[in-house]
């Protein structure tokens, strides 16, 4: 849209009128100047008449005083000019610069895409289903009309179809030789399998997994009351086969039982060794504690007896008398060698142990238990056992 152009009418002041106004102002300015010149000597910096005439119009005009005009005068001057320019504020601007409003309807009217989409609105009717060809084809088939003709032929066809699609008969015919299980039996079997699933995961051996499945079958058959009836219904050959299978199962279960019993014995032995080690270690610790406490008590008693003897010696005689010296020497001998016979020399033995990050093996525990028991009994075998342990276990060559 082009910018509104201001049309100059006759009411607008012409350039000549503007010049006339400017001349009037110039004359006023000149009068002001002359008055100022008459009164005072105006400064030469002020503009003269020969200067640029356009500046006289409204910029830098002189006041009556002969100097610069005040702000108020400037504002009033500007106001006068504006009123001269615009004069009538109530003039209708449509004739000067018409403004057209932009509405949605106007835009849509010009939009080609919108017209293409909506040009047929209200002119084209929606699809009538009832009169469509598809409906005419569907309806006759949906209506239940008695068909008197070709009934027999259709029935035979239907029977053939039914026989072909009879899945039950197909499945049952395949299962004629296999035993049929009820839904409850199947659910029980699944529950047993779910319960035994951790055992089955642990059984990496295929024989063990087979045995676990076999045990499930055995449990299932034991729960099934029809098992006996089924067995009675079998023929001689089938009975012989079943007999052989049962005998092989018995052999497998027997082997498994023997293995599990051996494993149980090993685990029992391991538990026993560990328990005996723990009891020996705690026993030795307790005895060491008791021994330390008894030593402390003895030291206290001997220390007290020694001091009392020394006091007595001082009271009896001088410090350096022969009797005093002999008693001191005797006491010192007793303290160092006196309790050597009753002292447990092997109880305070320390057993070295290498930290491996896992518990010691059964053999190591057995050796350590022997050492601990010898320490507890204060046996002379402690050094030899300890040496063997260090050479064979701690630092094997």
């Amino acid at each position: 849209m082009a910018a509104p152009i201001a049309h100059f009418d006759e009411d607008w002041p012409t350039l000549g009128a503007v010049n006339m106004v400017s001349d009037e102002r110039l004359q006023l300015a000149q009068k002001g100047r002359s008055a100022a010149a008459a009164g005072e000597a105006p400064p030469q910096l002020l503009l003269d008449d020969d200067d640029l005439p356009e500046l006289h119009d409204g910029g830098f005009s002189m006041g009556d005083s002969g100097g610069f005009r005040s702000m108020e005068d400037l504002v009033n001057d500007f106001d006068e000019k504006l009123s001269v320019c615009f004069r009538n504020f109530d003039v209708e601007t449509d004739s000067i610069a018409p403004v057209s409003e932009i509405t949605e309807d106007a835009l849509l009217e010009k939009d080609e895409i919108w017209n293409a989409l909506t040009s047929n609105y209200g002119h084209v009717m929606p699809v009538d289903w009832k009169q469509s060809r598809t409906c005419s084809l569907h309806l006759p088939n949906l209506e239940e009309k008695p068909r008197e003709a070709d009934v027999v032929a259709e029935l035979s066809d239907d029977e053939e179809l039914r026989e072909q699609l009879d899945m039950h008969s197909i499945i049952v015919s395949c299962l004629a030789e296999e035993p049929l299980f009820t839904a409850e039996q199947v659910i029980e079997e699944i529950e047993e399998m779910m319960q035994d699933s951790p055992d089955m995961e642990a059984a990496h051996n295929p024989s063990q997994s087979d045995l676990s499945m076999l045990s499930l079958d055995v449990q299932r058959s034991s729960c099934n009351p029809d098992y006996e009836e089924r067995v009675r219904s079998l023929s001689v050959a089938e009975l012989n086969e079943r007999l052989e299978e049962t005998e092989t199962n018995i052999r497998r279960f027997s082997e498994e039982l023997v293995q599990q019993l051996a494993l149980r014995d090993e685990l029992d032995f391991e538990k026993e060794v560990k328990n005996s080690f723990i009891s020996a270690l705690i026993d030795v610790q307790n005895r060491q504690k008791e021994h330390r406490e008894s030593l402390k008590k003895k030291k206290k008693l001997k220390g007290g007896a020694g001091t009392s003897q020394s006091l007595a010696e001082k009271t009896l005689g001088s410090r350096f008398s022969m009797e005093g010296l002999s008693s001191v020497i005797q006491n010192s001998f007793r303290q160092t060698f006196g309790s050597g016979c009753s002292e447990r020399q092997y109880l305070t033995t320390v057993i070295p142990y290498e930290k491996k990050g896992h518990p010691p093996s059964i053999e190591d525990l057995q050796i350590l238990t022997k050492i601990l028991q010898a320490m507890r009994d204060d046996s002379d075998k402690v050094p030899s056992l300890l040496t063997d342990y260090i050479l064979k276990v701690l630092c094997p060559t």
Partner: protein
Amino acid sequence: MNTEIDITYEYYNNDNNNYLICELENQAELEEETRLINQVLELQHTVEDLSARVDAIKEENLKLKSENQILGQYIENLMLVSSVVQTTDSKSKRK
């Protein structure tokens, strides 16, 4: 006439014998079958007992394994703390 009667009697006797033989054979088969059935059922009971025993032993072994594991952990901690046993790591630190 008598020969005919004899023949018929003999024929009748043969049929009877055949019938008896068949009967005996059937009886033997039935006995055999019964014996087999009883044997199968008995062995099946044995299998069930063995299976139950194996399951019980397996469960017991699992318990023992877990107990031994706990005891092993206890022993390891006891040896680290006890004054009777000295670990070589701490000895090297002291040096």
